[in-house]
């Protein structure tokens, strides 16, 4: 990357600025953190390691949780690249892989838990690493899906003329991947990565501390710290945990996401008036270290380039045989995948045979209860987010100020403040049956708010002016202008919020609180309970029901609605 700013700056760069020192310090800290994490990972496996509720352990726990989140993000990124690319570019793959992804996305984190934990603990019976990997994979399942969807849809919309240029320039597969596919998807991937990190934190407490049958698994980390604090009803520790979590979120936001967002307009076509400012990026781009790094990178590439590239083969059209081979390999792969899926399905059905009629009846009752809660939570959330979101979106200055705050609030894992809500509602004599709706609301309202803001800020000013000139009444303005205009984005918000609410019911309908177990009838409670008691057949059935509920609601309600939204209510002509 060329450092354009070097030419513009009038002052000669100092030998070392404070930023350089900071960067160097960060590097040292990073190396130390790596060593510490590695140490923890190779520690002998303890079923219930001691979790301390003292302040001095908190920084280390936060580091552990952060590193799990970062590693999980790395896995998510890798998965996204492989799965998204295959889905978009291998002929025929899309037909299978897209529905599979849709179903995977609807499976709650506890659905993956027993498989991950039992399998990996089996694999590493004497070391913590199995449990660590299981924990990372659970965080991964909270992060990955929207990134994969985003990458896939970006790949699908790469402009054909850029593809033509890539072909004419005989770009190698790697060059094409980096210069075209990845660069084109960069902006979407970035925004979805931010959402993904937040999604991963949501189930942090579950991912680090859980009971599976007679085993109590705990890993040192912020999540297990919080769940212990909640279990014991230790208010001071809870507050500390919340502060540590907030600190971590702010840290990641300032050090990673803000700089990346400030850098990302490079990948868009329009000259942006993006005012997103990042102090780190501002300093970094002037810093000597980055300049040296970018120059040495260029130097390395040049050195590499000195070697004369062998002339390319004349014909680049694959031979008929190669096409045949490729087609057969992809067929083979798809059928292998099919066999694995079929095998899993058969085993799953076998597991379901163990359920009694009573079990099924209970599960369906729970499903109905949770469904009602989910719908109520989304409706309640809409009640306040729609008016507020429209207001914020309408005034750019407000959204400029409020957007970062809302983003931060949204990425804070709501389960960590559930005890406060539940506690205060209990004081008014309201049980978990009702208060769990509040908890679902806390977890999912942000998705709706974000989307309403985006929708309302996209309403052209002329339309607001027309509504004023035509003397629209208050009601007319909502009916004729605002609701239709925000409808497509509101719908996106609803879909995400509803899927999220189903998953959040796992932690909202069942919790350990001040030494006792609070629970209410619901599918989420059923899943949590089955996990704790090690009743895998019930767990399998409940997770299956939840996946079916989410997917069929998406197909039967949301999809027709979004089709309608796209054909009727889009603002661009």
């Amino acid at each position: 990357m060329a450092m354009v700013t070097d030419k513009q700056s009038i002052q000669p760069p100092r030998a070392f600025s404070r930023v350089d020192l900071a960067v160097a310090g960060l590097l040292a800290a990073f190396i130390y953190a790596l060593v510490t994490v590695a140490h923890e990972w190779t520690a002998p496996l303890q079923q219930v390691p001691e979790i301390h509720l003292e302040v001095r352990f908190l920084p280390l726990y936060t580091l552990f949780s952060l590193s799990r989140g970062v590693i999980a993000y790395g896995v998510s990124f890798f998965f996204t690249m492989v799965y998204g690319y295959t889905m978009a570019r291998v002929a025929g793959a899309e037909k299978v892989m897209l529905p599979v992804l849709d179903i995977l996305q609807s499976i709650p984190v506890l659905g993956f838990l027993p498989g991950f934990v039992l399998g990996l603990v089996h694999l590493f019976p004497n070391q913590n690493i199995g449990l660590e990997i299981a924990s990372v994979l659970m965080i991964f399942t909270g992060q990955v899906w929207n990134m994969t969807f985003s990458f896939y849809s970006s790949l699908k919309s790469v402009p054909p003329e850029l593809t033509a240029v890539a072909r004419l320039s005989r770009m190698s597969w790697w060059e094409r991947f980096f210069q075209l596919d990845l660069s084109f998807s960069a902006t979407g991937l970035l925004w979805n990565s931010m959402m993904s990190m937040a999604g991963g934190w949501f189930f942090l407490m579950v991912s680090e501390a859980f009971v599976l049958g007679e085993h109590d698994f705990r890993l040192p980390g912020l999540g297990s710290f919080m769940s212990l604090a909640i279990e014991r009803g230790d208010g001071r520790a809870q507050l500390l945990g919340v502060l540590a979590m907030l600190g971590m979120i702010v840290f990641v936001d300032q050090v990673v996401w803000r700089p990346l967002v400030a850098w990302s307009p490079k990948f868009t076509d329009e000259e942006s008036n993006n005012t997103s400012n990042s102090w780190i990026w501002e300093r970094l781009r002037r810093s000597r270290i980055l300049r040296v790094a970018s120059q040495s990178w260029k130097f390395l590439r040049r050195r590499h380039g000195h070697a004369v590239v062998p002339p390319p083969k004349q014909s680049e059209a694959p031979s008929a045989k190669a096409i045949k081979v490729r087609r057969w390999t992809s067929r083979l792969l798809i059928s292998a995948l099919g066999v694995v899926i079929l095998f899993g399905f058969v085993r799953y059905v076998q597991l379901l045979w163990l359920l009694t009629n009573g079990d099924w009846f209970g599960l369906f009752q729970s499903t109905a209860a949770t469904f009602l809660r989910v719908v109520t939570a989304v409706a309640l959330a809409s009640l306040w987010t729609i008016p507020v979101g429209v207001m914020i979106g309408r005034h750019p200055r407000w959204s400029h100020v409020l957007q970062p705050i809302i983003q931060m609030a949204a990425s804070f894992p709501a389960p960590m403040i559930f005890p406060v809500v539940v506690g205060s509602m209990l004081a008014f004599g309201i049980g978990l049956k009702i208060s769990s709706v509040m908890l679902l609301l806390l977890g999912t309202q942000w998705y709706i708010l974000f989307n309403v803001i985006a929708g309302s800020s996209a309403i052209p000013r002329e339309l607001w002016e027309v509504s004023r000139l035509s003397r629209f009444s208050w009601w007319q303005r909502w009916k004729q202008l605002i609701l239709p205009a925000i409808f497509p984005s509101l719908l996106t918000g609803w879909i995400t919020a509803m899927g999220g609410a189903w998953n959040a019911s796992i932690v909202a309908e069942y919790m350990k609180f001040r030494g006792e177990v609070l629970s209410t009838t619901g599918l989420g409670a059923a899943i949590s309970q089955a996990t704790e008691r090690g009743q895998f057949h019930i767990l399998a059935a409940a997770v299956g029901i939840m996946a079916v509920a989410v997917v069929s609601f998406n197909r039967l309600v949301w999809r027709p609605l979004s089709h309608r939204a796209q054909t009727r209510f889009t603002l661009e002509t």
Binding site: E161, L162, A164, S169, E175, V308, P311
Partner: protein, 437 residues
Amino acid sequence: MTTPLLEIQNVFQSFPGAGGGSVEILHDISLEIREHEVVAIMGPSGCGKSTLLRAIIGLEPPTSGQILYRGKVQTGLNPSTALVFQNFALFPWLTVQENVSVGLSHLPLTTIEREKRVAEVIDAVGLGGSEEAYPKELSGGMKQRVGLARALAVQPEILCMDEPFSALDVLTSETLRNEVIDIYTNKTSPVNTILMVTHSISEGVFMATRLVVMGAHPGIIRAVFDNPLPYPRDEHHPDFIALIDKLHALITQAALPTELAAVEGGGAGKLPIQSIPIISLSSVIGLLEVLENEGSLEFFELSRQVHVELHQLLLVVKAGELFGWVTTPGGRVDMTAEGRAFLAADINARKQLFNVTLRRLFIFDLIVQALIKSARNEVDETVILKQLTQLFPHERPQRILQTVVAWARYAELFKFNGLRRVFHGLEKPAASVLSHK
């Protein structure tokens, strides 16, 4: 005689169309391109001129037929070509310099050579100083200079350009046209042949040494002309104007055959199976407005007055002829009594007149009959689309349908529900003005 640079032999190209069928874009194209030529491929939209260019480069291999480069059958991309795109096709995340060197990475060059070459072409197209700019910082003209530099960097023997100036404003495209000619006439430049696609006749005559005129539905080569005018060309020179007139006459004559009138009398009861020009009704009414005073205009005079691209104007005139509002005897456009009556009418009377007119047209009659036959007074879009695909295999049925809907809505002949995508009749089926017995 030496072997030509490129030989295009009996090239056919079809793409899958709506409803499982295929649309034939190119029909039996044969053409030779020799060294030291600027060949302009011209024709109306949808004649497959871009498709032909892509087949020559090797981006889309033809369905059948072959393309020879210096006597050898060409498979895959032709390494001696480079392409300049209509909408520039620059990578937004790469600087000017990086965009230009994109095409060089596969060539056996050392880094020093590569950098030198990039610097040279950037200077040659007048981008010196902007090496580190990103495309979004540049104006349209500068962007296309980057596109040109990227193509020139590979030192192509054949420089291909797909409507390279049509996304630019008039003055900028004028400048760039001259610069491209300078590159071609410059003895030191490696470009020895230019192959360009354009829809503008004057652009073709200004730049090309040979003009290839294509016709649409399906794309065929209608005529090939030599253009011996010396560079630099003067647009006001009588020879230049004469050549443009010659091309106009050719295209007009091909597009407006005079036998159309004969069909009307011939078919008693049966309507002639005929497609419709894809054109908005208001431009046809606009044509009547222009003709109102004189009543009749020479076609060239008309095209000069209205500043509309010739191919577009031809479509408008064809539509007017279809409606019976104008006739075109021998290069003139005459307004008919029917046209005058329509123009004089008020909006409601116009709708009635147009309603009668549309019922005489095959496609509209097809839909009206289908509606009469249907029990619920409704016909699904797909039914009509399928029939259109069968009847007019060289045209895009979706675009015909859009025009049909727009005209029918004006005439209040039948309605179309854009959400459910069905045609439906009016509430009370208007008594058939013309009986179809």
